[in-house]
């Protein structure tokens, strides 16, 4: 424990406003979405993309979260679902909430043709190594603002599989994500397919340390049935109970069952391998999103945990210490993160050669 504390006290996390000391993150929501745009929806005439309205809604929701004691939120939607790092920078300044942007892609059915049917014959989908290259650049060089600049570093790599079962292309995404985690020292966090343990093994086979892996969606009914969370924690990875507030109609266990799951994991000695979050969407465009606020976990779920006998100290470990440790960039990784400079944009543009 002492060793962990020391690591945290020297560790750095990459937020949209730059590096922040891990222990300054406070209470963290590790798996949420700020702006979530279904790919292409912004091009549809019926979708209103008024940025001022989007900003006001997100600001209000982040302020509600902050009033409940929350200090940090991870936008875990990756690079292709409306991620707007400039918006997140402004929101972070306006609300004081730390925001961590992520790189990564998925599920396959939401990918663009560039990755799935490239202009080659045959149209071979991208292999893991190409995805790793794309994601690694977003960590080391900064996340893209498409065709404008690279901004601050992605703080995690997140990929998503089809919950019915991971597809071949999603396996490439997962393996590429694990390679990026291994090379850059950021955590890899996934929403698993049908088999959480098989997906964990897929990631570990790339040589990433289990302590740098988060398996999300372990509060899905199927995952709870197979006791996936316990096996994930036993292997040293993080089991992310990240659909708090969701229920059986969406394929998840209820909050009452979730409290029991947390208690059992704590009793089994896995307090340092469990994460809590709500997978809420601040503003959804082009898809239905569950009505769930960023303050739900603190205002509604934490009281349930306390009632079940979970101590304040255990809650602090779950909501602060664990996510802080997860988000701390491993400085022993081979690649070092470069600092953002607004003047650096030119390097990303190549000459027109014809």
């Amino acid at each position: 424990m002492l060793q962990n504390q020391q690591e945290i006290s020297t560790g750095v996390v990459r937020t949209v406003l730059g590096p922040v000391a891990a222990q300054d993150l406070g209470i963290v929501l590790i798996n949420e979405s700020l702006l979530s745009v279904y790919p292409g929806a912004d091009l549809a005439p019926e979708i209103n993309m008024d940025k001022s309205e989007i900003f006001e809604t997100l600001k209000r929701k982040l302020n509600d979260f902050r009033r409940q004691g929350g200090q940090t939120i991870v936008d875990a939607s990756g690079m292709f679902h409306g991620r707007d790092v400039w918006l997140y920078q402004t929101l972070s300044k306006a609300t004081g909430v730390n925001i961590i942007a992520t790189t990564g892609l998925g599920p396959e059915k939401l990918l663009g043709g560039y990755f799935v049917t490239p202009q080659t014959n045959p149209p071979t989908p991208w292999p893991a190594e190409k995805f790793a290259g794309l994601f690694t650049q977003e960590v080391v060089e900064g996340v893209v603002v498409p065709r404008v600049e690279r901004s601050t570093a992605a703080g995690a790599v997140v990929s998503i599989a089809n919950p019915e079962g991971i597809t071949n292309e999603e396996k490439s995404l997962f393996r590429g994500s694990a390679q990026t985690a291994r090379e850059t020292g950021v955590v890899v966090s996934v929403q698993h397919g049908a088999d959480a343990i098989a997906d964990l093994e897929l990631l570990l086979a790339e040589g990433v340390d289990p302590s740098r892996v988060v398996i999300g969606g372990v509060d899905r009914q199927t995952a709870v049935g197979s006791k996936a969370a316990f096996e994930i924690a036993r292997r040293g990875a993080y089991a992310s109970i990240d659909h708090i507030g969701w229920g059986s109609e969406e394929g998840y266990i209820s909050d009452a069952e979730r409290v029991r799951l947390v208690v059992e994991l704590l009793e089994a000695g896995f307090s340092e391998r469990v994460l809590l979050s709500t997978s809420a969407v601040g503003v959804a465009k082009g898809h239905p999103a569950k009505e769930l606020a960023f303050d739900y976990l603190l205002s509604t779920f934490v009281p349930l945990l306390k009632k079940a006998g979970v101590t304040d100290e255990q809650i602090r470990v779950l909501l602060e210490e664990n996510p802080q440790r997860v988000l701390t960039v491993d400085t022993t990784a081979a690649l070092k993160i470069k600092e953002y400079s607004v003047a650096g944009w030119r390097q990303w543009f190549s000459p027109v050669d014809h």
């Binding site: 790919p39 292409g40 549809a44 939401l110 663009g112 543009f349 000459p351």
Partner: protein, 334 residues
């Protein structure tokens, strides 16, 4: 004769002049913008694009139809600036290059939604601008057959073509029977359809060309310049002489007024290397000399570059879309 929608507003069909019906300011598959590999210096991209369009003007070119579908780099405000700065009319399209180049939001939509989307872009405007689409783009996904999604898009395009009078331009003529059946079922005459890319190397079928033209459709020799004789040609390339011979045989069958020529070139490619040195100007600098040498008259060239495009692009009187019951009756009969 009528009118045509350009990115700067409707113009008289007579004002189209020399027209290339299938070109791109810049094309890229969705997702390519995330990969800095393809980010080109914006000032140079602008300069190169202006230079190519200016050269097109010098060759007598007046109208450039950009066949880039929704989400593939179609950038209306950019097109408007380019048109203002060069004097070239630019016609933008609604629709999708193919089902597999559409973004997820649109891939899951119904025929009714897609019809409304195309009609909106032709009659109201594109992406919040007042610029209206002048044609509808559809196409065949990778794999050799129309996918279920491709079929939905073709059917929606046929209905939007009837409702608005705008023509349809296809990417690929692969699996023509399926495409023609959909147009038939929807009651769209084939003279409102340009079946494009009949000249690509992997997909030549001269009987198919005759079938389409025989039924009144236009046949696109519209990847001209993707010659296997060039350095690093794409997989759809064709030896220059083979393409010219193919084209001459098509004219020889009496289909001059059903033939379309275009280069499908990118002024500055967005998400792929493009073909170095290729542009719309290949038509004037290489292809026209080739076909003149093969005996094509100036009058025929005027038909190809002026009269056929004008006839095709002119917006027709809106027609009622076939009632669903009628379409279903036709479907049942087939």
């Amino acid at each position: 004769m009528g009118k045509v929608n350009t990115v700067l507003g409707p113009i008289a069909s007579e004002d189209l002049g020399v027209t290339s019906l299938h070109e791109h300011i810049g094309f890229g598959l969705p997702g390519c913008d995330l990969d800095t590999q393809w980010w080109k210096k914006p000032d140079e991209a602008f300069e190169v694009t202006i230079a190519k369009l200016r050269r097109f003007r010098e060759h007598g070119g007046k109208t450039f139809v950009d066949c880039t579908g929704i989400g593939n780099g179609r950038d209306l405000e950019y097109f408007q600036v380019l048109s203002r700065r060069t004097g070239v009319h630019i016609v933008a399209v609604t629709g999708f290059v193919a089902g597999d180049s559409a973004m997820a939001y649109f891939r899951e939509k119904s025929v009714e939604y897609l019809t409304d989307l195309f009609v909106h872009e032709i009659t109201v405007g594109i992406a919040g601008t007042s610029a209206k689409a002048g044609a509808i783009k559809v196409g065949v996904s990778r794999g050799g057959k129309l996918s279920e999604l491709d079929k939905r898009i073709y059917r929606a395009a046929a209905r939007a073509a009837l409702k608005t009078g705008a023509p349809i331009i296809t990417h690929l003529t692969t699996d023509p029977q399926t495409a023609l059946a959909i147009f038939d079922e929807e009651g769209l005459p084939l003279n409102r359809v340009l079946m494009g890319h009949a000249d690509v190397g992997q997909d030549v079928d001269e009987e198919r060309d005759s079938l389409i033209a025989g039924r009144g459709g236009y046949v696109g020799f519209d990847t001209i310049g993707y010659d296997l004789d060039m350095e690093n040609p794409p997989y759809w390339g064709r030896y220059r002489k083979d393409r010219v011979d193919h084209f001459m045989r098509f004219l020889g069958k009496g289909f001059l007024d059903k033939a379309v020529i275009a280069a499908d070139a990118n002024c500055c490619a967005l998400g792929w290397p493009g073909l170095k040195g290729h542009s719309v100007n290949y038509l004037f600098e290489e292809f026209l000399p080739d076909i003149r040498k093969a005996g094509v008259s100036e009058e025929a060239i005027e038909q190809l570059l002026v009269h056929t495009p004008a006839t095709f692009l002119t917006l027709q009187e809106p027609q009622p879309v076939r009632r669903i019951e009628e379409t279903e009756a036709v479907l049942a009969k087939n």
